[in-house]
């Protein structure tokens, strides 16, 4: 067994070991093990590309890093988040499902087989469904059910594409498919188009995105962060691997552009802040889909930069939202005023994360979006580019207008101190996209 294989197995086992660490009641052992998983994920870079039972290249590595990092953050955050609230499914089951959810995402990313990737994606639905219902009420039960039924129906549809790929190529092994010369055929075209609709359900492609705002808004904040930051990108990764077999660029780019337009329009009339961030996720995922579909140096790197920065930025947005919800009890934007006085740290995190997820310079998301736009320009997709520029700008205004209203408008009654762990983690997560942006400028472009 070589080192890379052992490291990959460790990335799969550590979330479960972390759960066992939680059961042992040794203080913070679970967090230490999750931190170790981030370190292993970072170290795995040295061994990319790796091919065998698992397939890990640079693209996969970026996704693994995202999943392990956001898992660590959400695990730490959830302890404070649930301190004053009983978890309906029980703390033990919550932690077990969180571990299985993370493992199933990492499995989907690492396994070198499209069929088993599908199994992994379905497993993410199974493990995360009850996490959504931890705050047991009528609305969250309905959101959970919509999530289960819409995503499962969509992902089942995607299985047709797996069958058709196997029928056309005779293997489902990703490394073999990528290394062989696959000639596009009508059957493969149908397979890739079906994958767009099927896996697109989980990615948030319009019009099969409808579960997304419900699940994100009703899930507890640490879970919303994982949904938005890493679950959707994991599904996007699987879709990308299928896209690589027979790149139907025109179809994918147009589907993503229409989805960005739809997300931007939905953002215009949102009254609840968590729903607003959910639609912002839809916008970002589809921008990344454009980058992946266009490919090349700019498109692919832009998409990875966007996804990496967005995962932390959106985690920060949902952690801030969780803090605000706990502090004010309000879900609507109009019910929240003057946060900068009552919750100075959380409001700073909210503002920063809002800038991060809308692609404000110099956050990493800005450079990611810029590279994606440039990649579109380089292949002469001018109509798509103009539409995107307009609607991304509209989304930017919608999100930042609402957030600045919540932070600066009106006067809030001070109800006590904000939770230091929750606000600190929100601030840390929001600052990482800024750090990514600075690193990109300094290291990659050598501009400074």
């Amino acid at each position: 067994m070589n080192t890379a294989f052992i490291l990959i197995i460790l990335t799969l086992l550590l979330p479960v070991l972390s759960y066992l660490g939680y059961l042992s009641r040794v203080p913070r052992l679970d967090n230490a093990l999750s931190l170790a998983n981030v370190a292993i994920a970072l170290f795995l870079y040295e061994f990319t590309p790796f091919s065998g039972t698992f397939y890990v290249d640079f693209t996969t590595w970026v996704f693994i890093l995202m999943v392990t990092s956001v898992h660590l953050l959400s695990q730490v955050y959830s302890k404070s988040y649930f301190r004053k609230q009983e978890i309906w499914i029980g703390e033990n089951l919550f932690n077990l499902l969180l571990a299985l959810f993370t493992t199933s995402m990492i499995f989907s990313l690492e396994i070198n087989n499209l069929g088993l990737m599908w199994v992994g994606i379905e497993a993410t639905t199974i493990s995360s469904a009850l996490l959504l219902m931890t705050e047991k009420n009528e609305t969250s039960a309905e959101a959970t059910w919509r999530y289960i039924v819409i995503v499962s129906a969509g992902v089942t549809f995607a299985f047709i594409s797996i069958i058709l790929i196997y029928y056309s190529i005779g293997t489902l092994e990703i490394s073999s498919i990528l290394s062989m010369k696959v000639f596009p055929s009508l059957t493969l075209n149908v397979a890739v188009a079906i994958a767009l609709v099927g896996f697109g359900t989980k990615v948030g492609v319009f019009p099969v995105h409808t579960w997304l705002p419900d699940a994100h808004s009703e899930a507890p904040s640490p879970i919303s962060a994982m949904f938005s930051g890493v679950l959707l990108p994991t599904a996007l990764y699987v879709l990308y691997r299928i896209y690589e077999i027979d790149p139907m660029r025109e179809l994918f780019v147009w589907a993503a552009v229409i989805s960005v337009i739809a997300a931007s329009l939905f953002l215009g009339y949102q009254t609840r802040y968590k729903r607003m961030f959910a639609y912002s996720t839809m916008e970002n995922m589809n921008l990344a889909l454009i980058g992946l579909a266009v490919g090349g140096e700019y498109g692919l790197f832009g998409a990875l930069l966007l996804l990496l920065s967005h995962s932390f930025g959106k985690a920060g947005a949902f952690y801030s939202s969780g803090g605000i919800l706990r502090y004010t009890g309000a879900k609507k934007i109009e019910e929240i005023h003057g946060l900068w006085k009552s919750m100075p740290v959380t409001s700073s995190a909210l503002l920063m994360s809002s800038f991060a997820v809308t692609g404000t310079p110099p956050f990493g998301t800005f450079f990611g979006e810029f590279l994606i736009f440039y990649s579109l320009f380089s292949i002469h997709y001018y109509v798509q580019l103009v539409l995107l520029l307009f609607f991304v700008m509209a989304a930017f205004i919608s999100v930042n207008y609402n957030v600045t209203r919540m932070v600066f408008l009106g006067v809030a009654e001070k109800k006590g101190e904000e939770d230091s762990v929750m606000s600190g983690l929100a601030l840390l997560s929001s600052a990482i996209p800024l750090l990514i942006g600075v690193i990109y400028v300094v290291v990659v472009t050598g501009a400074l």
């Binding site: 069929g115 199974i126 009850l130 009528e138 059910w145 089942t156 549809f157 059957t187």
Partner: protein, 215 residues
């Protein structure tokens, strides 16, 4: 033997579609669950026949998996959720005539898709490459989706999802069975999802519009 088997494939597939119609028009939950059981067993029988035709033992193992995991375990978990005093549990206002008309439209759509250019290059393993048999899994898939969309109870929607999964298995059986390891994992996934769904059933029997989830 294999010639008889090939002859049986069309009528058995038709029976599967009839079970889908039965479930679509059924307002009582328990008979609907039993309809799913019959549908899964018919699917297993088709898999056995395909095993005989192609002389591939994987089909036989697949049939056993279908009977055990999909037929019996899923039926068990779903029926377990219905209390003894709820034997007449049903969904109100099921408009059978309207549902059947839409269902027939879906069958016609499946025929159109299979005989259109989309599937023209696809040859099936059975019945000397007669692609017409693919109408059945496609029609069943649409039936599953329609069952999810047309009904309001959690049970009926779970049935729709299982029907969709059955359609995928039937599609793979007729076209080219995927490796057994993957097929088995898919079955276990579906079983786990049904178990999770049965938890939601307890919390929410029917689904109506929720104000907070609009927009």
């Amino acid at each position: 033997m294999s010639a008889i088997g090939e002859v049986l494939l069309f009528p058995l597939s038709s029976l599967i579609l009839i079970t889908a119609f039965y479930m679509q028009g059924q307002e009582f939950i328990r008979p609907m669950i039993r309809g799913q059981l019959v549908q899964s067993i018919l699917l297993a029988v088709i898999s056995v026949i395909m095993g005989i035709i192609t002389d591939d033992s994987d089909f036989i193992i697949l049939a056993v998996l279908i009977v055990v995991l999909r037929g019996f375990l899923i039926t068990f978990f779903l029926e377990k959720g219905i209390r003894k005093d709820q034997v007449h549990l049903h969904e109100k206002q099921v408009s059978v005539a309207y549902l059947f008309i839409i269902s027939l439209v879906f069958v016609l759509t499946a025929v159109l898709i299979v005989y259109s250019v989309v599937f023209s290059s696809i040859k099936t393993e059975s019945i000397t490459g007669n692609q017409g048999i693919l109408v059945f899994p496609l029609a069943l898939f649409f039936q599953g989706l329609f069952l999810i969309a047309s009904r309001r109870t959690t049970y009926a929607q779970i049935m729709g999802y299982i029907e969709e999964e059955n359609a995928i298995v039937l599609f793979a059986v007729f076209l080219l069975p995927i490796p057994l390891l993957i097929e088995a994992s898919v079955f276990l996934d579906v079983l786990a999802l049904v178990v999770i769904s049965s938890v939601v059933v307890v919390e929410k029997f029917t689904h109506e519009r929720v104000e907070e989830l609009r927009g």
